[in-house]
């Protein structure tokens, strides 16, 4: 099978762009609906169920409401940057989806179409670069509002983003070392070759990545930039109508992208169990694997495989979205110092140490000449499992993250003010 080329390729590209963009926007809209419904279910309520069957048209009603609402511009706000900020937040959250493969390649009469908008060689680096750009919009929004709460929200966003980007990147390196490449198509392919999804051989990286991704997307328990109880609503306090909606869409867009990314990096992306759906471009041929003598075996793409793998990808992404919502409506927000302590004192050293451990294991396995396959994965799973257990034990027994009760070292000694001074007459009375 040949890859698609010429005019059909352009048409296919346009269709994919339109389709995936629409899909992401739709998923974002229904993620807001899911958030409201799931939060209602968690609190034994019913949630929005009036607009359309089961309230399914609620996102559309919300959209119409936000478009029709009055846009306010604070008198002291910097007009240009105030308008620029929502755009700067919205765009990165929507373009990051471009490098995530969503299904197995689709065969058409004109050639095979990859189900990914742009299979760029920089792959995951593109995602990291753009997701970091979003924080500029947040900081800009907080600063341009000329409101102290919004400003504090923006400051917190930048501090938190920097702190957790480190752990995120370091836990990612473990994946990239194992995959040997930064393109997400190759990450999926290598997971198919290994015979297991990276959530098992790189379990600790998976946990660290999930925690960091929560912090990166500013979701509870890390929603420091918003922190309703402390900062009104943080960086978007002054925003109303569609500009506010842009911030919301970008928050959910980040959630969807992060979920898709976690599914791709650690749960095999669109890969389903079994080798029937394996497909990868190797020297211009679509192959499904290698024979025992090293010859490539040609893949047999089919439309039903594409559909089925897309359903698998959607299910995995939905699982992470549900996890996002579930955690948001369970855990309380961390204190600001706890966020920083967790980021720098726990996540960073753990991810660094784990990185060394994985690197050494891979080196030893390669030196011993173990084939990249099930045994390779099994050894890594055991090593990572031990590391994960140690990490959990350390968190649990060491009371590493705990409330005010556990950190006696952080307690402030309350001293009673000496009675004599306090009860005496004020100087100058006599």
């Amino acid at each position: 099978m040949e890859p698609i080329s010429g005019i059909p390729a352009v048409i296919a590209m346009a269709a994919k762009n339109l389709g995936i963009f629409t899909l992401v926007i739709l998923v974002v809209a229904y993620a807001t609906y899911a958030e409201r419904r799931v939060s209602a279910f968690i609190q034994d309520r019913r949630g929005p169920n009036r607009v359309g069957p089961f309230g399914l048209l609620q996102p559309i009603a919300d959209g119409i409401k936000n478009i029709l609402k009055e846009e306010t511009l604070p008198a002291t706000a910097s007009r240009f940057f105030f308008v620029l900020a929502p755009i700067m937040v919205l765009v990165p959250s929507l373009v990051t989806f471009a490098v995530i493969p969503i299904a197995a390649p689709l065969p058409t009469p004109w050639g095979v179409v990859d189900m990914i908008i742009a299979d760029v060689p920089i792959g995951i680096l593109y995602v990291l670069a753009f997701s970091s750009l979003a924080v500029y919009g947040v900081v800009l929004g907080g600063w341009a509002s000329n409101n102290k709460y919004a400003f504090l929200g923006g400051l917190r966003a930048s501090a938190q983003m920097v702190s957790y980007e480190v752990a995120l990147g370091l836990s990612l390196i473990a994946v990239l070392m194992l995959a040997g490449n930064v393109t997400l198509t190759e990450v999926v392919w290598q997971q198919q070759q290994l015979g297991m999804w990276y959530a098992f051989p790189l379990s600790l990286a998976f946990i660290l990545f999930v925690i960091s991704a929560f912090a990166e997307t500013n979701r509870l328990p890390f929603d420091m930039p918003e922190a309703e109880s402390e900062l009104v609503t943080g960086y978007h306090t002054e925003y109303s109508a569609m500009k506010f909606s842009a911030f919301m869409i970008s928050e959910f867009g980040h959630m969807v992208t992060a979920s898709a990314l976690m599914a791709t990096l650690f749960l095999g992306g669109w890969d389903l169990p079994g080798s029937w759906d394996n497909a990868f471009w190797y020297n211009g041929e679509l192959i499904s694997g290698f024979a025992a003598n090293g010859d490539p075996v040609l893949a047999n793409p089919a439309a039903w495989k594409t559909l089925l793998t897309f359903a698998g990808f959607a299910a995995k992404t939905g699982l992470f979205l549900l996890l996002y919502i579930w955690i948001r409506w369970t855990l309380p927000r961390f204190r600001y110092d706890q966020v920083m302590a967790l980021g720098w004192k726990v996540m960073l050293p753990t991810s660094l140490g784990y990185l060394m451990l994985v690197a050494m294991t891979i080196l030893v396995l390669d030196e011993l000449g173990v084939n990249f396959g099930f045994l390779y994965g099994l050894v890594l799973t055991l090593v990572s499992g031990a590391a994960t257990l140690a990490f959990v034990f350390f968190l649990d027994r060491g009371r590493t993250i705990a409330g005010a009760a556990a950190t006696t070292s952080q307690k402030i000694e309350i001293k009673t003010i000496p009675t004599a001074v306090a009860s005496g007459h004020a100087p100058g009375r006599h």
Partner: protein, 166 residues
């Protein structure tokens, strides 16, 4: 003067674990998430059964021929603590007194039910009804015709011999 400090009883550091607390919290919320029994009442479809002694929108009882039972004795505007009843009485050829104007301002009314208690002919009642939203404020002054149109059940008076209305 010393500053008094309240010492909070914190759990012992050795007995707390954020991780375990978080996981048990997640288990709890998951149980509620899949639990089909919900507390929300689907209001317009499901109505709460009002107590027989619920005091709401007023009802004016009428005779079979459509005349109000009110005899314009003037007891209800006198007893009304919120001063929300306006009554102008008149007399017909046979010497029967009847209300020419009878208005109740439902905004001023505090729904104490004393008008119903004091009425000698059981004409004015408070009723078991609460949905009286309107678009303008002047719609809340109910005139005689409107009071007679109300078709909801009227409130059961408190009976001293049956204090819990059984």
């Amino acid at each position: 003067m010393t500053i008094s400090v309240k010492v909070m009883q914190r759990p012992e550091p050795e007995s707390t674990s954020y991780l375990r607390a978080a996981l048990s919290g997640m288990a709890l919320t998951f149980k509620h998430m899949v639990n089909p029994t919900k507390v929300t009442q689907q209001y317009p479809e499901e109505m709460t059964e009002l107590s027989p002694r619920w005091r709401g929108t007023h009802v004016m009882e009428q005779h079979a021929d459509g005349r109000p039972k009110c005899v314009a004795c003037g007891l209800c505007p006198t007893v009304c603590p919120a001063n929300c009843i306006r009554l102008v009485g008149g007399e017909d050829d046979q010497g029967n007194r009847y209300p020419i104007v009878y208005e109740i301002d439902e905004f001023r009314c505090i729904f104490c039910g004393m008008c119903q208690e004091v009425c000698p002919v059981e004409a004015i009642h408070v009723g078991r009804h609460f949905e009286n939203a309107e678009y303008t404020r002047d719609r809340f002054v109910y005139d005689l015709d409107r009071l007679m149109e109300q078709d909801h059940p009227s409130t059961l008076l408190w009976d001293p011999s049956d204090p819990s209305s059984e």
